[in-house]
Amino acid sequence: MKLKFNGLLVLLVVLITQITFAQDRTVNGTVTDKSGLPIPGVNVLVKGTSNGIQTDFDGKFKIQAAANQILVFTYIGMQKQEVAATKTNLVVKLKDDSVQLEGVVVTAMGVKREKKSLSYSSQKLDGAQINSSPTTNFLNNLSGKVAGLESITNTNFGGSTNIVLRGTKSLTGNNQALIVVDGVPIKNDNLNTSSVKGSGSGFDFGNSASDIDPNNIESVNILKGASATALYGSDASNGAIMITTKKGRLNTGIGVSYSSTVTTGSIDKSTFATYQKQYGGGGYGGNDDFDYSKDVNGDGTKDILVQTGYDISYGNKFDPSLMVYQWNAFAPGNANFGKPTPWVAAVNDPSKFFERSFATINNINFNGGDDKSTYNFSVTNNQDKGVMPNSKLLKNIISGNYSRNFGNKLKLTTSFTYSDQSVLGRNAVGYNNNLIGSFRQWWQTNVDVKELKQEYFRDQKNIGWNMADPTAGNLTPAFWNNPYWDRYQNYETDSRRRLLLNSSLSYDVTDNFNLIGRVTIDNSNDRQEQRKAVGSYAERFGINQTTQSSGYELYTRDASQQIYDFLANYDLKVSDAVGIKLLGGATLKHSTSNSFDGSTNGGLVLPNLYTLANSNSFIAPITSAITYQKSGIFGQASVDYKKIIFLEGTLRQDKSTALSKTGKNAYNYSSVGTSFVFSDLIKSEWLNFGKLRVNYAEVGNDPEPGLLSYKNYVSTIGTNPYYSNSTVFVNFDKLKPEIAQSWEFGLESSFLDNRLSFDLSYYKTVTKDQIFRVPQSTATSYNSSLVNAGNIENKGVEVSLTGMPVKTKDFQWQVTVNWSQNKNKVLSLDAGRTNLQLASFPFGATLNATIGQPYGTLMGTDYMYDTAGNKIVGSDGNYLNNSATNNIIGNIQAKWRGGLFNKVSYKNLSFSFLIDMKKGGSVFSLDQGFGQDTGLTPLTTGTNDLGNPVRNSLADGGGIINPGVMANPTYTTTNGQPQYIANTTRADASTSSEAGLGGTYGITANPAKAYVYDASFVKLREVGLTYAFPTKFYDKTFIKGASVSVIGNNLWIIDKNLPYADPEAGASSGNTQGYQSGVMPTVKTYSFNLKINF
């Protein structure tokens, strides 16, 4: 002890001497790579002090140092270099580190590994790529940037993002990748109701990965395969998104960076309905559908009235000379009250309903540290006003971390994230109660939205275009509220507060033996409120989904997840050639989820008071309290030979409370993989790096907890409470864990001074004994059974290619291509089933898993075809329908996906753009099905082959000839087989097909197949222009760096086959895709960003 004290004393003396005697002077310099190109952002530190700085854009630095001091230069991908500060002008060339080049990546459990040792595929994106566009959910910025990643950003305001790696593996379970922050999994729940997840009605509340502050992300590493994630167990069987947050760095400056972004946007018109402008509202009664039976003005003659109750546009042809009593003639106080108005198309169609969006994101970050401690602290404020009137998102995220070394052996790291989000006025999704559904499917083209706006804002009443029976004094809506009433009275609000805490203690027992203990707490509180104001159109509302004309619903959920980890690392160098790394650990996850869902019943007693107590009658809330525990013990052994051949294996055993003790609640699984760095054997000029990898992994999985069949309280009638039997049959004791098996082969290479590199993977995954609710005949008295069943296979290829065609001092051009193809096949189901219905969509289509087909077959009615495959037309000129509902009419799986990223830099200016592509896959559009049925789309007008308007009656030369064949009327045969000839029968197109008077367009006349579209797209996803101010601009100030950027997002859908909508639009993230009803248009955004470092 005494000795140690003396040692410290000596050190102190030395330090004092240094401080006293060192003659500081300014050392200037430039840091370049080996080809002489300057490297900005290199850390320069005076060794043994906290004096440090980063190089500027030109690779230049200035630092105070004494001649006897040493400067340390560090930069990712380069070898660390120490240079004595003997001269005051230095030129430092950093060497590529062949190890560092490939980099160190964060693997499962937060363990860092050299990338070259990995036997599996991983793809890393740095913070700049994650923050390339301003966003509330960083997952949105992954689209097109990672091979094998399907990131579907739907168009909902604050909506959820589907994030699936290497295809759908679970038939009905979770297929979303695991989100891991600094080594520990966090929840990425989507609080959408099962109805919304199945494309039904409700709201898309987004997914909780949006609680991560994109500004605070240092890098993201995507682990695509099961082998990569085997240590996490089943939670990561769909791959993992490993987030590394920004850490404190040794820094002497103030260490503050500030970023401010302003974004504005408007809808992409190619993704919203286009309206025909020739015919107005009405059409159920034929193409002269005015009501001529009433004398409105009392002058003794009957007047012309539009049928306001009809929400379609197959009515009379527009004629400005025709004076018609329209909805506004019945709205007291309206300028046109009591007056007929000319029969013309609306000046402002519903596309004018959308406003300009406006958002700001401000972030300030404090970062620093010394040789013992580092810290990083970040605050982000985000305000977002959507394109829908009265929509707003507010979010604040505070996050920080702190680490400190106690002596040489003990290190404490702790971090926190607190996010607080509140949203007002999300757009509704699904068929019912969805305003956009009205715009796309049920509308009168003579109605002007600006006039509806004036009408609503005049006295905030629900007087609108769709009056039930105005001449009888009934102005209440037949089906649709005034859209502004919907937005300003019947709005939803929701909020989420989330706190993520993480602490870990690392202790080096010996130089090569380290122990880590880690605790992570993830708590969230959600609150969602829905309102229906007194005076609204009555429809399904509340927890019982009964018809209500007003009401209030409150949903809250408190969820908590605690994870305790112990890890032991042991590194062993057997000889110079052979190294061994051992890892052992244990983990325990404990989670609880308590929810409450209550609503008023029978309407609100007092208007405008939104509380549960303000209910006409009591209705018991639905509450739920589920707890869950899972523990795991695991081990990993890695061996390398001369760092050329690596071999790694893992073993894990899990125990879950979601499986029965009498069944099998403990289960084992393992992985093994190898990588071979062949470039170290073939020394070659052109080959910089080459690696082959192959691995195999098995991962077990347990079911979702709390799924046992309970008796469900329904209501109380009189004094009799009543309960229903469960609709899901569960034999808990029979359930066993599901197993996913996967193997993967990969090749990574880089050439020509690393100017060209690629990563190629081939993989195959088979998921067996899946635990899911298998639909069964309801004649069993259950909808489904929770069983182990089903086998699904995914195989695919992923390629990612990076090249730098031009690289000079001033000019650089970088290209990245990502391409992936996943082939998915349902191999078997259960108990004789050949088809598994996953979702049943309103009006005519189902989503299925069908044996022998890729996951996600769309089924429904089809055309009838002749032997040559031509569509057969019936005697009325309409297509004949094959009314069996199990025809396969499409499949949601894409053929391939790709992304092309280009970045060109000239001096301080850089320009980049990302093109995102998807080929294949189907989408069923109810928007088109009804939009045609109701005569909204331009397709339903125009002229026919005779040059007459198609909407003329057949007698008047109207109608169309549907392409196809018809039975030859002059051909007779004895065997009953008709002969088909090209169709010449003209079909009536004068009214809605629903009216039963003919009518050839729309879903009533045509099979579901007619509304299945190819969902391919080519999108210009991102465009960015950045200018970094040269040092001379702020040389004399405390500013260390500044840049401005202009960014465009979703500016152009270069190609698509789905009319009037974005093929990616949908109700929610999850397994149910391929259906559109009342989807939001895409928003094009333009942003301006300013970044300053101090």
Partner: protein, 487 residues
Amino acid sequence: MKKIIVSAALLISLVSCVNESNDYNNDHDKAYDVPAKVLITNAEKELADQVITPSQGSNIFRFFSQYWTQTQYIDESRYILLKRTVSDVFWDNLMRDVLGNLEATKKAVNVEVRSAATSQADFDIQQKNKIAIVEILEIYTYQVLVDTFGDVPYSESLDPNIVLPKYDDAAVIYPKLIIRLDAAIANLNVSGLSFPQGEIIYNGNTAKWKLFANSLKVKLGINLSDVNSALAKTTIESAVLSGVITSNTDNAKFPYVSISPNWNPIYNNLFSRNDYVPANTIVTDMNTMNDPRRSAYFTFKPGTTTYVGGIYGAANSYGNFSHISAPIQAATTPGILFESTEVNFLLAEAAARGYSVGNTDEYYYNQAITKSFESWGLSSIDAETYLADPKVTYSSSLSGSSYKEKIGHQAWIALFNRGFESWNTWRRLDFPVLIAPASATADAQGKVPVRMTYPVAEQTINTASWQAASTAIGGDKLTTKIFWDKN
């Protein structure tokens, strides 16, 4: 090394933390075991809702009988069942929600424990009565299913372990239902208790359940009269001897209340939407008959004092036609599952077919019409006046050329709020003559449907069984007749 052992021990202790109790996986806010009384209430509610609702999405018999028609979305009036998957909803409601909950009720009854206050003998009687009532409701439900679809799963149904049950021949199911019904009647002890609470159709009154069960026998028996007259005869005659519902005080009614979700489903469907108006088919006919029940069935056309029905199968402007009357669409109007009007018409038909039912066809015909008037709040004098009209009088040739026409016509008018029963009577008697609208879907082949097609989900889930059943009945079509529908 020691440190390694210590840390290993730490890990193992951590792992042993998982709770090993199977109950741990339960949702702590949910009920896993509930008494039978709360399940029977639910089953009765589900049954009543399905039978009574006029929703175009689940019960379209009011359209088949041309009582109601749609105003704007007229698909179901045109017999398009696929758009709103009507068959799926109907089938699920009866199979899963009614029969499933009745089965769950049985299981709960079977595990009930006798309280000390009840003797073993009384307890045994009570439990037997409970099971008998559940059985009667199950048989009632199966009949609706068989009559609607034809072959349905029966011998393999209601077993969660047979996930894809085969369909049974409807003609084989019928006699089995009668045997089960006989057993249930035999097990009913009218002097004993059944459900003291929860059974809210008859409040556990076993004597009334016996009337209900016998009436159900008549309802099953009469359908067999064209295909198995001998069985029809014995079934009906034994039922009548044992006692059936002939008085309105014995009607089986579900007591709806004023508050959602326990209000009458007709109210639920009509109070906020203008989807339906009475069809011209029934309104015109009742105008011709000058039927006083019109005021109970319809309102006047707005602004007039006449009854005008919407054109069946065409789009109709709501404001231009009569509407469904206020009493029918009141929230608290009870839902009728069985009534004396219906039973009297069945007995009139049985008598006309030559079965011995204690009275003549004319007697029961007059009774049926009188009970109908009473149940709609009209006086027996009104009924007498009506019956005296030669267009109504049973013995008059003006009321029809055959018993089928006479009974068919009057039953059709009387069963206005009983869509399914009316459709059944029409299929059996082929009167009144109903004509499919010009707008009808091609699938109906120009006829009023005599069957509903199987659910979409059975096609996509229970494919092989559906295929076999479709072949067995002669095609899964709207035009395929049920086995007993011979003409």
